[in-house]
């Protein structure tokens, strides 16, 4: 008689996830049973929780543990990405409070939902089973739909939430269908087993079931990283969502989608690399170009950054196309840099904007540079970093991404990449032009910079510059993470 044997369960790999989940649930309860009024303290508690989780993740930075019968793993790759997620979530929380107070929707549920999103992302990064990845992805996505529509009195936020939900669930369908087909072709959902079975196939590229599955997975992830032509939801959602949440969802979840797809494609389907890298080549070029060209025409900074975020995903796809150690590890580095500079930029937007998200165009920045020199300097650093000008993290990231492509022989891809990068300089510099080189049209109201926002800004400026000047440590860790995948 066959007994169902319980696999040895080691909770250590998901300790940070458990911790955050418990914290989030506790916060939900506290929120319900506490009297009304300001809910800022929930934000502080969540932030401390994020730091604690980061310490837990950091404690295992050098370890390797498989658990749940190989469905979850703790390795350097997961650790690196988890740090990005926690950074992204932590910084988002820091810049949330001031915004939510101004928009008068500082409801306590926000913070637990951010934590749940983070847990979902972390599961995606350490999931080594299609099911775990899907579980994480759903947890993340559903929480994000709520976050996008969180400002329920604002029409645009509602639109963002609904749009994100509809298109997001559509893409989840693709992903799930792809997983089903891959399961059908290989008979397992465990990534390492899929890899073995695909490697044993004589002609994996002529296995229609498998190919269709891979293609659907590919499409699903392209939706999640907002690669063109699957990017249509991005501008509206990013523009409509509350600004701190835009900052969050353009960095953390994007990194999570890259984490899961990197693990999936590099571990499970290396034998099909010829096929998927051809697809990625096209996807990368289209994504970069569409993102940059549409961003050129935007006056609303939030929308501009939304389009530029598509372009940044495109740069990462260049590294993905290369598929070698240099290129893929550069994605890790770039996602970290992007989290720093992008959230920093959004923090500035929050400070400039007025109630109801008005005052959000590039023109409204006129004269900002000499009214608030420190803030403008920070914005300048972010813009130059996104444009890829040294000595910033953005430059080092792009350098390694394009190096990966060149190393693998994709010279034209790299050239198209740098030309795109040159085009992007225009719209990033436009922000700087307005800040420093135009006279203000109206007097600035002094925006108070609260302590949390100031911390977030200092953190992101320092991070952007440090990663630009002495990136070795992080780069080495990223390369180690990829090599041991």
């Amino acid at each position: 008689m066959d007994m169902i044997t319980m696999p040895a369960i080691n909770m250590t790999p998901i300790l940070p996830e458990i911790f955050l989940s418990v914290l989030a649930m506790a916060l939900l309860l506290i929120n319900v049973f506490s009297p009304g009024g300001s809910k800022s303290y929930l934000g502080y508690v969540s932030f401390i929780g994020i730091i604690a989780a980061a310490v837990l993740v950091g404690a295992g930075w050098n370890g390797y543990i498989e658990s749940f019968n190989g469905a979850v793993v703790l390795d350097k790759f997961a650790t690196f990405f988890k740090m990005i997620f926690l950074l992204s979530a932590g910084m988002a929380i820091l810049i949330t409070d001031q915004y939510m107070e101004r928009e008068e929707c500082n409801h306590g549920e926000l913070y637990p939902i951010i934590l749940f999103t983070t847990v979902g992302m972390m599961l995606m990064a350490s999931g080594t089973d299609l099911m775990t990845i899907f579980l994480g992805l759903e947890l993340m996505s559903v929480s994000l739909y709520v976050l996008a529509g969180f400002n329920r009195k604002n029409l645009k936020s509602n639109e963002a939430g609904l749009k994100y939900f509809l298109l997001g669930s559509f893409s989840t369908g693709f992903l799930l269908y792809g997983m089903a087909l891959v399961y059908g072709a290989t008979g397992t959902t465990r990534i390492s087993k899929i890899a073995q079975i695909v490697a044993q196939m004589t002609m994996p590229s002529s296995n229609i079931l498998l190919l269709a599955g891979v293609l659907l997975l590919f499409t699903g992830f392209a939706f999640k990283v907002a690669a063109a032509p699957f990017h249509m939801w991005t501008p509206d959602v990013y523009e409509g969502a509350p600004t701190p949440m835009t900052a969050f969802m353009s960095t953390g979840p994007k990194a999570a989608a890259f984490a899961a797809s990197l693990r999936l494609f590099l571990v499970a389907f290396p034998t099909l690399q010829v096929e998927w890298s051809q697809l990625l080549w096209v996807l990368a070029v289209v994504t970069m170009t569409v993102g940059n060209i549409t961003a050129l025409r935007q006056d609303n900074i939030k929308r501009m950054l939304a389009y530029s975020s598509i372009a940044h995903a495109g740069y990462c796809l260049v590294g993905f196309t290369a598929g070698n150690g240099t290129g893929t590890s550069a994605i890790l580095f770039y996602m970290l840099s992007y989290a720093l500079m992008n959230i920093g930029a959004f923090a500035i937007i929050i400070l400039v904007a007025k109630k109801g998200e008005s005052n959000g165009t590039v023109m409204d920045l006129a004269g900002f540079g000499f009214k608030h020199p420190a803030l403008a300097l920070a914005m300048t650093v972010f813009m130059f970093s996104m444009a890829g000008v040294p000595p910033t993290a953005g430059f080092i990231g792009k350098f390694y991404l394009f190096s990966g492509a060149i190393q693998q022989g994709y010279i034209w891809l790299a050239i198209l990449g740098v030309l795109n990068s040159a085009a992007s300089v225009y719209y990033y510099l436009r922000v700087i032009v307005y800040m420093y080189m135009k006279d203000p049209t109206e007097e600035f109201e002094w925006t108070k910079v609260t302590a949390p926002v100031a911390i977030a800004l200092v953190l992101s400026v320092a991070g952007t510059l440090v990663l630009g000047v002495i990136p070795s440590f992080v780069l080495e860790y990223a390369q180690l993470a990829i090599r041991l995948l």
Partner: protein
Amino acid sequence: MSNILSLTTFLPILGVLILFFIPKESKSVLRGFTFAVTLVTFLVSLLILTGFQTNAEFQFVENVPWIAAGPFVMRYNIGVDGISLWLVILTTFIMPISVMSTWKAVEDKVKEYMICILILETSLIGAFISIDMFLFYIYWELMLIPMYFMIGIWGGKNRLYATMKFFIYTMVGSLLMLVAFIYLYMIGSQAGIPDFSVLHFYNLHLDPSVQMWMFIAFALAFAIKVPMFPLHTWLPDAHTEAPTAGSVILAAIMLKMGTYGYVRFAIPLFPEAAHRFAPLLATLAVIGIIYAALVAMVQEDVKKLVAYSSVAHLGFVMLGIFAFNVQGMTGSMLQMLNHGVSTGALFLIVGFIYERRHTRLITDFGGLAKQMPIFATMFLIVTLSSIGVPGTNGFVGEFLVLIGGYESELRWWTVVAASGVIFAAVYMLWMFQRVMFGELNNPKNQKLLDLDAREIAIMVPLLLLIFVMGVYPNPFIAKMDPAVKKLVSQIRPASMDAAAKALAAVPVANAAESNETSEQNHTGMPAGHPVIPHEGQSTSPAINPHEAK
């Protein structure tokens, strides 16, 4: 004092850190402090000059690990040789002068202006002394940022267009160069080259077809910076709109970055391709000389005229470089310094007059010499130096370039280019005549004050240099001579070497043997100096143009 290069590079940045704490209302403190920083930097850099041994090697080398990740090893690897030495000194020399020129010109946002100038100085020096190519690229890009702000914030009416154009033009070129950098490194690492040091890459013998593409990428980036016709269009805009100090730095130092790039990177890294493209680039240089001169002639704005004269002068520099012989190269190196001094001085002069009248149109002036005698004298000297009249610095450089060009394969190009000297005389003197002589009939000009003590103090060092370099250029040439000779022997492509060797082998069999042994001594350098006939004449350091005259 082994860290003297780093000290020179980072002193200005240290100054920036202190500037942050000076309140922005105390403008004179800000100005004085920045001036002091640049002056100290200049004095420190003189230690480099005095400590420099006259040989072809890199000196004051500092080489410490910096980034090592993945396939790349970047090192903080810096040093000066005869080629970069004078450019570093030129940079540190021009900086205090341009800071002093802002005393009255910049009243608004003084603090930010000074920060820009100091960051610019660090990045300029850093680029000239980088041996590591990645480090060079960082500085090369970094220098765009402060210049972008200087033009964009303190510039003229059309400044936004000018600064955007300047930034994007340069950025496109350098990004393509970046791809070539990376590709080069990939080839190099397969050949066992351990890091980004340009010295390693000199020894890498690349396939000619690879060389060609790489050269195109490098040459494009540097040609934009020089700027060469037809990529020069950003320059008149940028120069015209930039504030005086910006124009001075842009003309005197930043443009040299392009020609320096050819000398340090594009040509010695890809010698065969450089030889292949020499006729094309020389043609563009000559077109630049003639075209810019003609355009300069019809300018109504003095500053724009000077800007176009820069394009013509840099054309001479490019021609000399592509002569590939010692005279041409020496002339070009010297001409870079000369252009820095005299065009820098010209922009200062335009600045002086603009501060007084807030116009730069030639037709608004006339007869100023009566009202401003000191100004007129100085202006005349600088004008003559820019034309290249014997006795001034401009003559020495141009003359060597023309000799070098004439003796090289670019003989006919040189003949055409020589006419540019005449054009230069035409547009400069005509402009001078219309501005300074004639009737003082514009009432606004009748009350103009002559230069004050500060302005005279700014001009005197430059005027002195104009004469020193014009009459006794030997100390300048002597320091760079070994490095230039090494460079010239290095950029002789292997195929030419073989052909020359075959020639030499016919009359004297021994010569070929000794040639081979000497090549073993200079490992990695395609040596073989006794071959080209006219080279022998110039091996002695006495390249005295006055003899030839």
